[in-house]
Amino acid sequence: MQHGLVLADDASAKLNGDKADEVRPPVARQYATLTGDFISDRVVYKRATHTVHSAMPVFVSHSRSTPPDAQSTEEPSRGARDVHLGRFLAHGRQEQFRRLSAEWQQATLYSSSLDQAYMHPAYQQIIGIGPAAIPLILRELEQQSDHWFWALFALTGETPAEGTETVDEARAAWLSWGRERGYI
């Protein structure tokens, strides 16, 4: 049962022949917890041990928690790989967003300047994530108020909160905008 898949955000993505483990979901979660691997749905993504030149974490799709059918003991189908790749990339973006968001919040906690807040490198990198950052920002905004409004404007080109004078008003306007469009 060998169908490990190394996924990275660069050209290092390649098929990998790691031996898979037979694990059930609870065991898989323990395994993932113990090893630091990432588990998503029914797939354990094992941390790759080789060096890659990438800022993003690299995981190897290691095994399924339910026995795959006979065909899938070979290489996974392209569709399955796409699903895994999609999940991996989404996870990578979430981690990247969390890290950048925490960095930005810490760095701007004592500042009143929106110029500094909006121009902070971490904030600019979040904008650089592109449209995939929109639901991540909106979910963050759901949790707590903060000045995410410029990033949302930059990413969407929309101005649902233009003219609002309070953080709460702008937050409500953007959350309403996001819900209407199915982002949250």
């Binding site: 701007t108 004592y110 500042s111 009143s112 929106l114 108020s145 101005t159 309070t166 306007a173």
Partner: protein, 151 residues
Amino acid sequence: MRAIFPGFGGEGDEVRSPLDRRYNCIAFAAGDESRWWWPGPEEPGGAYWPEGLPRETTLDNFRNAFRLLGYEECDSFELEDGYEKVAIYASASGVPTHAARQLSSGRWASKLGKFVDVHHARLEGVMGGEGLADYGSPVLAMRRPKSDASP
């Protein structure tokens, strides 16, 4: 706090509120704890700047914002009978960074960005930080006649 603001923590210095991301130092100095005052870009919303003033971060613009509240420039940050004062801080390059308002005791009240409200005995109490906590120094004193409601 001392790690961020080395000048803070002397006698009379105290934290007065929990963290609140809804208002900032300029709003707090202006007596408004419901809005974030900053002349940033208008499109994204979430910030207030007095109508008619430009959306630019200059000392002159901040001076004019407090003039609309009845303040006039003065020469001293010292306590004066019959007046309440605000102190505008700016970076070494002259960009406004912070504002504090004087209490009737002569101490100062500041909101530290998104963080907490503090009282500090000296204007230097919120100087000397690093990075984005670097408020520069007080460069502009403004005063207006005290009203009955003044703290």
